[in-house]
Symmetry: C2
Subunit: 498 residues, 2 copies
């Protein structure tokens, strides 16, 4: 009886997953291969699939099946599936259809206003739209309900179980320590030599190098592919079809390479989902923060380590025979870890990155909790930039208009980027304990033990545990800032002779 | 009141079109970019979208709206939309869901059996599956109903209004005349010199040449793209996103080039659909035969003409500087029109192609009408090949197992290929009358007048007219074999000095 209901539920969920994965392919194609005139129809197709998915998933049929399974005798895995499905169902059903529609229309208007406002570096043009986005997010929080801050209801969409009460102390620990480190680095006399980075870097050689590294770390090209796009991203339509994109700068060979490692980290997570979870809500990374821990681990912890460059500098030299004359692993390691406080988050280095996030988090909390008026955003932004990073913001385009996220209506998303860094450092401690020869292996270009560890402890679980549960399970402690701060000060202390 | 119902109907149809176009993108990706391990999930996604589309389209809601609009006062265009929709609705609703399911399962089994049977050149392995396919197609005909032959009900799916009563006389006129022409050509002493075609033809140069020609004929790369695939095809997700694929042979420069012109002809048709028909059942070519008339017109009538090669031989020489030494337009024209009776339909030249189709048509009619037993197919095939083309079939792989169509369950499809040739010749007569300097323009590489004519008389109408209606409207006569036979004997008579 219960097993019949469960099969019935799974059939409905499979259909919903198929629609969702189809929409993901439409989006991938839009970013990668769609001819420009195809955009108009594509928007309509995506809207239809999205509405269809919502309708199928929030149907009374699914609701009834969930209720019938509430007290049923189920295996642990089945219970997990039902619970995660109920959680998604309640989140999806909480928002009235008119609200979803209003939100979607406001997004579209805000996005187009933002494009123009950023091009003209004029916050006032974007202000009424941001006003609307804040107001809609406040209403969204009310629909979902929350304890403590209404911002908790927004965080929940990206990082289940994360709260302001947890996050603020973490970020308040991170900010002053990272600011101070950046200040000291700026004053250090041990600045890396990066003169050899000047000039043109051949795009095809960058591509070939990135493909080799992706193969080495264990990305399965039989179950994925790399393409080019304006903004790099990872997407998947199944655990056996996980695709990444990258972009190239002929002025900087690390941009594409580190981008491939970053997206490769996301992709390894999705390729590591259990095939038996296919077409269920369990079949994806558990949160944006945990996802980011995987991308940052591969990009920064591994890809910006000295052992990594001991392995890859000779290959780097082979791919660019006329560029790395006399440049050894130490020089590459120093250059790939240069620290430069800058205005733009997406170009920020490992050492300054979290500070960009802390700024956005503080502003978002203040906006949602009603302590900051939208018209005061540019001033608050510029003040925080000076305080956290020591830089002056010359205009709104390079300041509070730089990110796409708010124009998409997304608030509560940014913190997951910094959480990913924190999680990665916590995971590293456990990995170093469980895989004592980790760094020797990295120096040999042998990543299989690391990948095996990640598969076993993180990837295969999909959405079975919330991020906090997962961290506690794997690390024996909740999210914590100390491992990251210690990792940063050790690494950059040595690099900059502090 | 009626206008409200019509808007309601259009909203439902738009949703159905979006699902259908999404499925087409999934299929395109599957042929072009999908990594191999993605196939399993992709099959499920396509099955879900197909079921969803069927469910939405054949819903009681759509049925009720159509009934309510039956006697409503509508504009000519609105009436057309409602009538075409009702036609599709009745075709779709005629097949019980269990039958569709049974058909689909039989297809999957037949397809896999065919792959193996062809590889081992063993018809007996495929025979039980073909038996089932024939039986299912006979039942399909009964569900749809028909007058005269049950084969008419199958033809209807690909060429609305076409019947055995119309088709048999056309093909009976074509077959002996084409067979005799091929026989005479085989005995001619004026065989073209094709020695210069030997050797390797650079793939990139072929690609670049094909892109230039596609641009020249008016294919809009802002509303489409060309990619590579194992089997060339055209697909579209909107009139502003119409994509083609091609494949390369380094042994033969005409394979990709003529393939691009062929698919380009299909694509120009779909790019010429009226934007206001977007997301309605009117927004596509009216039949496979009319579609094939467009591809054949560009590939054969234009692309294998002497004026075309007067224009393109100098460019051909530029793309392959070391290959065409001393080869002029006449030599290229002769080489691209070489006639060689062969075993394989997809490699057949213009002069022999229809004979391959007549053979398949006769066998399919006999199978569906019960005059031929499936076990006797190889013998019937081989006998007809000898009679029509004068060739001996050495094995089933190169004989009755060569095509994928039957394994897909498709019967009634093949005739549209030959109809396309016939239609193209009929259209050419009218075009030559309406555009008197057609061939001067082709010789200048100026195709805009031709494209304008096709847009006006064929493309923009979408599915407003059935193929027979369209031919009568444009040519003043129903489908006819005489223009094609006359075109062939004039062209090849001159080429082979008959």
């Amino acid at each position: 009886m219960a097993s019949e209901k469960l099969e019935h539920l799974k059939a409905r969920l499979a259909e919903v997953a198929d629609i969702d994965n189809s929409a993901s392919l439409l989006q991938w194609d839009m970013e990668v291969y769609m001819p420009p005139k195809g955009a108009e129809a594509r928007g309509m197709q995506l809207a239809t699939l999205s509405a269809l998915k919502h309708r199928q998933f929030t149907s009374a049929e699914v609701g009834d099946l969930l209720s019938a399974l509430d007290d049923a005798e189920l295996s642990e895995d089945e219970r997990c599936l039902v619970d995660v499905t109920r959680y998604d169902y309640e989140r999806a059903a909480a928002l009235p259809e008119e609200f979803v529609h209003e939100f979607s229309e406001a997004q579209t208007r805000a996005y187009h206003a933002w494009i123009k406002a950023r091009a003209e570096s004029s916050f006032p043009q974007f202000q009424p739209h941001l006003d609307k986005i804040v107001e809609l997010n406040q209403r969204r929080a009310e629909y979902h309900g929350y304890e403590g801050s209404p911002y908790n209801a927004l965080l929940e969409d990206y990082e289940r179980g994360m709260t302001v009460e947890r996050l603020t102390p973490l970020f308040d620990a991170v900010a002053p320590r990272q600011s101070e480190l950046v200040r000291q680095i700026g004053e250090s006399f041990a600045q890396p030599n990066a003169a050899w980075l000047k000039g043109e870097w051949d795009e095809q050689a960058q591509w070939d190098f990135s493909i080799q590294i992706l193969n080495d770390i264990g990305y399965d090209f039989e179950a994925g592919r790399q393409d080019k796009s304006v903004h790099p991203f990872t997407t998947n339509f199944d655990m056996h079809d996980v695709r990444i994109t990258t972009r190239f700068s002929t002025a900087n060979p690390f941009s594409a390479l580190m981008g491939s490692l970053h997206e490769g980290g996301h992709a390894l997570y999705e390729q590591g989902i259990r095939p038996e979870d296919r077409r269920t809500p369990l079949a994806s990374g558990t949160s944006l923060g945990i996802h980011e821990s995987q991308s940052r681990l591969w990009e920064n912890v591994i890809g910006r380590s000295l052992p990594f460059w001991k392995r890859y500098t000779p290959l780097f030299q082979q791919y660019f025979p006329d560029k790395l004359d006399g440049v050894g692993p130490e020089e590459v390691y120093a250059a790939v870890n240069r620290v430069t406080p800058s205005l733009i988050r997406v170009e920020a280095d490992e050492c300054t990155y979290n500070l960009h996030i802390v700024l956005r988090y503080r502003l978002e909390c203040d906006l949602i909790e009603g302590r900051l008026a939208v018209e005061d955003v540019p001033e608050a932004w510029n003040t925080q930039m000076k305080e956290l990073l020591g830089v002056d913001v010359p205009n709104d385009a390079e300041g509070c208009l730089q990110d796409i996220h708010w124009s998409h209506g997304a608030m509560g998303y940014f913190p997951t980027y910094a959480l990913g860094n924190l999680y990665a450092a916590q995971l590293l401690r456990v990995i170093e304990r469980d895989v004592p020869d980790l760094w020797e292996k990295v120096e040999q270009g042998a990543f299989n033990l690391l990948l095996k560890w990640l598969r076993e402890h993180i990837h295969q679980h999909g959405r079975r545990y919330t991020p906090v549960e997962l961290m506690e399970r794997v690390c024996g402690e909740p999210p914590d800032a100390e491992p990251y701060l210690s990792y940063l000060s050790t690494k950059y202390g040595a690099l900059y002779g502090l």
